[in-house]
Amino acid sequence: MGRVSAYPWIGGNDNATITIRAKCREDPLSAGLPKIRRRSLPFDPLIILWIVLAAALVILVVNPLFRLVQTSLQDTDTGAFTWMNYVTAYSRPRYITAMLNSLRLGAGVTVLCLLFAVPIAWAVSRTDMPGKGIIRFLVLGAFVTPPYLGAIGWILLAGPNSGWLNRIWMGLTGAQEGLFNIYSFGGLTFNIAIYSFPYLFIFTTAALDLVSSEMEDAANILGAGILRTTLRVTLPMALPAILGGAIVTFLEAIALFGSPALIAIPARFNVVTTQLLQFFSQPIRAEVAAAYAVPLLLITVVMFGLQRQLVRRRGFVALTGKGGERRVMEIGPWRWVMLGYALFILCLAVLLPYIVLGQAALSKAWGRGFSLDNLTLHNFTYLLFEHDTAARSVMNSFTYAAAAACIAITLGLSIAYIASRRLLPFSGVLSFLCMAPFVVPGIVLAIAFYAAYAPPPFALYGTATILILAFATRFLPVGYSAADAAIRAINPEMEEAVRILGGGRLTAIRQVMAPLMKRSLIGAWLLVFIPATRELSSAMFLYGPKTRTMSVMLMDMSEEGNFESLAALGFLLLISTLVIVGIATALLGRDFMLRRER
């Protein structure tokens, strides 16, 4: 029992502290302990924090998801318990096909993203590949491109008859048919992957940047070549991050709504999100949609559990505070091969789509092609000065995204800290709840929010509040993972040093953790903010006349066939995002997803 009196002051091993405290409360013998020992276990103010965080998660995650599950098990008219909604949701082969399509889509996108992201991330982070600045900039360009805008760009590029790539192919070879068909399963998979891989790139470079060269040197000294070192030493060190990123990519792909709406509907197959849209269109069958969405929740639970198992088994701590030299590897002529590969992928993601979108944005009528008398700036002036709601929707998007990012990061950070340092019991539950929204496709989240907060007493439908809360929930997993990664990268020994020297936990957080994490936290904030500015699927069912976001407007314009204005609005979105990222870069001294050259 000697440890009991020693540990609470030193706080060396938090895990031990917790278990011992718990024992003291339960053990009837502890009542007989001398008073001084009891005073050594004061009321922990962290309990209040825990309650606040738990309450926030109840509002954002538990209640909406509870309402979702409740709705799926209720008869709409009588409110009685029933399994019938599940029967209806899986009664037709095409409903099942849609679900299988989503799983195939998620798997395909993940594999493609690994092929796109990991080699580029490795080349940028660990090698002497030239042109890293431009590659990072182009990855950023792909990251800030809303997938639905990219989908429209690729419809213009790879439409089977009219796409520019196919026209060029037919012109060059005299072929009667185009080479690419974006309106296909492969087309959709490729299109989503080319705009999802930046997530994986960020996860992977963040991890690779932390791998010390000492380990690679050791491998080299023992006779391993570059390839062997990379495959056996460097990449395994980053494996938890890569797998975590891959799982995020998979879940993100199956939750995506905009690209499937633009590509899968004309290609005449359904995925889960377009199938859900069918359940929500007249006559609305929210209960069937809820039943249809619940199994997806289970898939994510399983995958998240899997990721945690993987990360736990290999508990790497890469940043130790002891300093380690990090150098780039010299890969000789291969650096040009890597550069070529990176440029090729980024041409597909950024350069080509933006050329065709630029043509549309600057055209009077984009069908007339590239010609001088077709040039105009009117699409931009129209949006900014003449259109009733465009300027307002731009403002809405940025305000809601900023508010949502602040909420998501504050929550994610607090919970990740409590969980990683095991400060309080049941912190695993909190972190699970932070990740739970990932399983919920945006449209389902929107309906869950609708069910929970549209009716009185809340009556929040169509307000900025419901949109901000929905966005915060939707991107809470991103905020949490980023904060968690930032915390995991810092060995607790630095905090422990503070506490051994007599500093309290708050001192440790303020003096050690905050300075170390400042940059990664601003990076994490941007990781939430940027996707939130372009968030479509959860906004679709929650916006009101005054709270329309830019994404909803872009989608409306695509349905109106108004591609000139749509492309112009897409450019405005891109430019304003880049300006914000530029300001952040200037403030941080580095890009949010990139380190300066070392």
């Binding site: 095409r94 419809i155 309106y183 509907i265 005449r268 069908g367 066939g561």
Partner: protein, 190 residues
């Protein structure tokens, strides 16, 4: 595409020469497309759509999507509303409009005043104006159909009275379209 190759009737769209190049909206997304499909089903039966499916049509969402696909050169013929088509012609896009010989389907857009509207008189005034010659003349500009006698449609557009129209009642549309959407999904796959 030469003008004489253009389809003249809905059934001309079933010609295999348009395989993969026919565009329509989706009745579940577009009320206009739903009404159109109901009208064509009434005249030609569902076999029309089963045959259309064989022509591998490109199905978008709204009734404007076919316009977009045609302007892009992705598709060559499609089903859309006349005002969309004329608006696009006015922008300089090289397309043409055909008023099919087997019958137009009118996409009627009714208006109403909610029982507890805060400004019912203003709404009534607005509806009066929508029934005025001023409004009728204004909408002919983009190819919408004026419903007042004595107001000519957009130059080059045949008058409504001279064309065959497939009649549909409100009840037919209300009960017919949801049923049709299911049929559509069975035939076209989504």
């Amino acid at each position: 595409m030469k003008p004489e190759d253009a389809p003249r009737a809905w059934t001309d769209m079933l010609d295999p020469k348009w395989k993969g190049r026919v565009a329509t909206g989706h009745p579940a997304f577009s009320g206009c497309t739903g009404t159109w499909a109901l009208g064509v089903k009434k005249v030609h039966g569902w076999t029309f759509f089963e045959n259309l499916a064989k022509n591998n049509p490109r199905i978008g969402r709204s009734a404007v999507d076919p316009m977009t696909l045609i302007i892009a050169g992705e598709c060559l013929v499609g089903v859309s509303s006349a005002n969309n088509a004329y608006a696009s012609i006015d922008k300089g896009n090289p397309i043409g409009v055909v008023h099919p010989s087997d019958g137009l389907v009118l996409c009627v857009t009714p208006s109403a005043i909610p029982a507890h509207a805060p400004h019912p008189n203003a709404a009534r005034l607005f509806m009066e104006w929508m029934l005025s010659p001023d409004y009728a003349r204004m909408i002919t500009g983009d190819g919408s159909e004026p419903i007042l006698e004595g107001i000519a449609p957009r130059p080059g557009m045949p008058a409504l009275a001279d064309q065959k129209v497939i009649p549909l009642t409100v009840d037919e549309i209300r009960t017919g379209v949801p049923e049709l959407i299911e049929q559509w999904r069975e035939t076209f796959g989504n």
